[in-house]
Every structure is written in C-alpha cells, then in structure tokens.
C-alpha cells in the first residue's frame, strides 16, 4: 500500500540521515532557523530593493548598478534553500502534508518564473539605458509580481507552524496526503 511504502521510505531515510543527527542536537534547529531568517533579509534587501528601483524608487541610480546587489540576494536564496532543506529532510511529514508549505512552494515557483521572465524580456533593455531610466511598464509589472510573490513566500513560510498536520491512525487514512503518518506508527 502507498501509505506503508511512504512510512517505510520516511523511516529509512530519516533514521539513517546524518542531517537528522545534526538537526536533533541541542541548538541546531534554532540556529538553522536564524540562518533562514538572515537569508530572507538578504534576499529582500537585495532583490526587493532592485524591484523597488524598477518600480521607480531611487531613479537616479542606474539599474545596471543596482543589479550588482543581486548576487547577494541570490546568496540569500541559496542560504535559504540549504537551511530549508535541513528542516524538510529532518521532519519531512511536517512539510509535505502542510498546506502553508505547498503555498510557499507555489509562490517560490512564481517568483522564480517571474525572475526568468525578467531576464528573457526586459534585462537587455533596462541595462543599456540611461542612468535615470524609468523602467518600461513590463519591467515594472515583473517587479511588482516579484515583491508580491516574495512577501507571500514569507507569510506562507511563517504560517507553516500553524498548519502542521496532525498524526493520524491507520484506520482514518483514505488517502495518503491527508495527514502525517505520525511518530507513533513508526
């Protein structure tokens, strides 16, 4: 049965994972959370300010110059993918059944595709323009979507803890994605 397969899979990965051994030491989880928050700040501070520049804040700053901060936003993103994986690999049930986590992933995808759109459509245009350029409407729409998507990612991420799935017993389960198998069953 799918559910048995899943319990076996989670048990065999979680039980033999060095990540889990580290994350279950005394302060590892809160430290990883602090790092996750720092990555969030770097991402908003560098990608969010670039979005604000496209939307018209600090128009005298050349967009290409502002873009030099983007690698640090990407560094924040990489920090958060890494620290985020630590959480998911340690407590997979708490995330894969969590609707708030699903929404977070959805908006991460939207933010990613939106950034891809920027580099495919507006990048060349806004980079070769004059210093005090007013970004074209298309770039502004992309910037607004980016800000909205990242803020939604923050909100959904912060709400994950309020949507933790309850462990369920074998009899209640009709579909594997309804609830977490629960530690008691392992």
């Amino acid at each position: 049965m799918l559910r048995d397969l899943q319990i076996w899979l989670v048990n065999s990965t979680v039980a033999h994972s060095p990540v889990v051994d580290i994350m279950r030491t005394a302060w590892a989880w809160p430290i990883a959370e602090s790092v996750h928050f720092l990555g969030l700040c770097m991402l908003i501070g560098c990608i969010g300010t670039f979005d604000l520049r496209l939307l018209g804040v600090a128009k005298r700053v050349p967009i290409a110059a502002m873009h030099r901060l983007i690698p640090f936003g990407i560094l924040g993103f990489v920090i958060n993918i890494s620290s985020g994986l630590l959480f998911v690999l340690t407590e997979p049930d708490q995330y894969i059944y969590n609707p708030s986590f699903h929404i977070k992933l959805l908006f991460l995808g939207i933010a990613g595709m939106n950034a891809g759109m920027f580099y495919l459509s507006s990048y060349r245009q806004v980079f070769t323009a004059q210093a005090s350029l007013n970004a074209p409407l298309r770039a502004k729409v992309i910037a607004a979507i980016s800000l909205g998507a990242w803020i939604t990612v923050i909100v959904a991420g912060r709400l994950i803890t309020f949507y933790r799935p309850a462990p369920c017993s074998a009899e209640d389960v009709t579909w594997v994605l309804q609830c977490s198998p629960g530690k008691g069953l392992r």
């Binding site: 700040c41 908003i44 050349p62 640090f72």
Partner: protein, 168 residues
C-alpha cells in the same frame, strides 16, 4: 521588584487574550507574519546599505540609497507595532527572558549605526570619496553583526524562555 501583578493584569486584558487566543489568522499568526515581513525590509535594506558601504555595487552612488530610507522606517514601525502586540500577547515570556533585552539592545545599536552611517553618506555632494574610509567600513561591519545578532536573539526567544505566562 516583582512585576508579576502587572504581567497578570496585562495577560487578563482583552487585547492580550485576543492576540494569544483568537482563532483568527489575523491574530497571532498574522502578527507574526507582519513581523517577518517588516524584518525582511528593515534589516534587508540596512544590510544592503552596509554591503554598499563595504564596497559592493560601486556604481550605485551611496547618497542615492537614501531613497530607500523611508522603507526602512515604514518596516521599523510595522515591527514596533507588531512587536508590541506580540509582547502584549506574551508579556511574561519576553520580559522574564534576558535574551529579549539582548534583542532590543542589538536593534537599538543597529538603528543607531544606520543613523550614523546615513549621516556620513546621504548628504554627500562630493561623490563617494569617503565610502572608502576604513572607519565607515568598520561601522558597516559592526552594523551587520548587530542585525545577525538581533535576528538570532529574536528566533531564540522561542526556545529560551523560562515562563510562558505569569501563572507559570
């Protein structure tokens, strides 16, 4: 000084009980989410300014970064208000934990450094000459350390408290 009577009173107020007990998403979860958004913008923009001061993105005239200062203050007030609401919700949890005072201290030093760095670079008409100054770079690095510390202290509040409510 025993502040327990004050804590008991505060926790008995309707506002405190709404923050903690309301099933509404706009109560405790929404306030926490606002606090995270405000952190992202306030700390994020301060960090971006610090990065610029230590030499990242040299094409950006530092003085022009003052345009982002209003966002820092909007985010700061969002976090002051959401933070006070969280404090009203769980006053004992925060006020009996030394880590809470460390967090406030680090935020105060971080904001003071933001102001000092701003005074040095925002009204600069002569260009970015003194952005190279080692003294200014030092302030930027101390500022980054303060924000990392404030974030860490804030997160550790959830793990280091000794009493959740005045009844504990």
């Amino acid at each position: 000084m025993n502040i327990d009577p004050f804590l008991l009173w505060l926790e008995s107020t309707a506002l405190s009980q709404w923050v903690v007990g309301s099933p509404s998403l706009f109560a405790f979860p929404g306030i926490l989410a606002l606090h995270a958004i405000g952190m992202g913008f306030a700390v994020g923009i301060c960090l971006a300014l610090d990065l610029r001061v230590i030499g990242v993105a040299p094409g950006v005239r530092i003085a022009e970064m003052r345009r982002f200062v209003p966002m820092v203050w909007i985010a700061f007030w969002i976090n002051t208000i959401s933070g006070v609401l969280l404090l009203i919700g769980y006053p004992t949890k925060a006020l009996t934990n030394p880590v809470f005072y460390l967090k406030l201290l680090l935020i105060a030093v971080g904001l003071m450094l933001f102001g000092r760095i701003g005074r040095r670079v925002f009204d600069d008409t002569a260009g970015d000459g003194h952005a190279e100054s080692p003294a200014l770079r030092r302030l930027a690095i101390i500022s980054m350390v303060c924000w990392v510390g404030a974030i860490t202290a804030g997160r550790f509040l959830a793990y280091t408290y000794s009493r959740l409510t005045a009844l504990d």
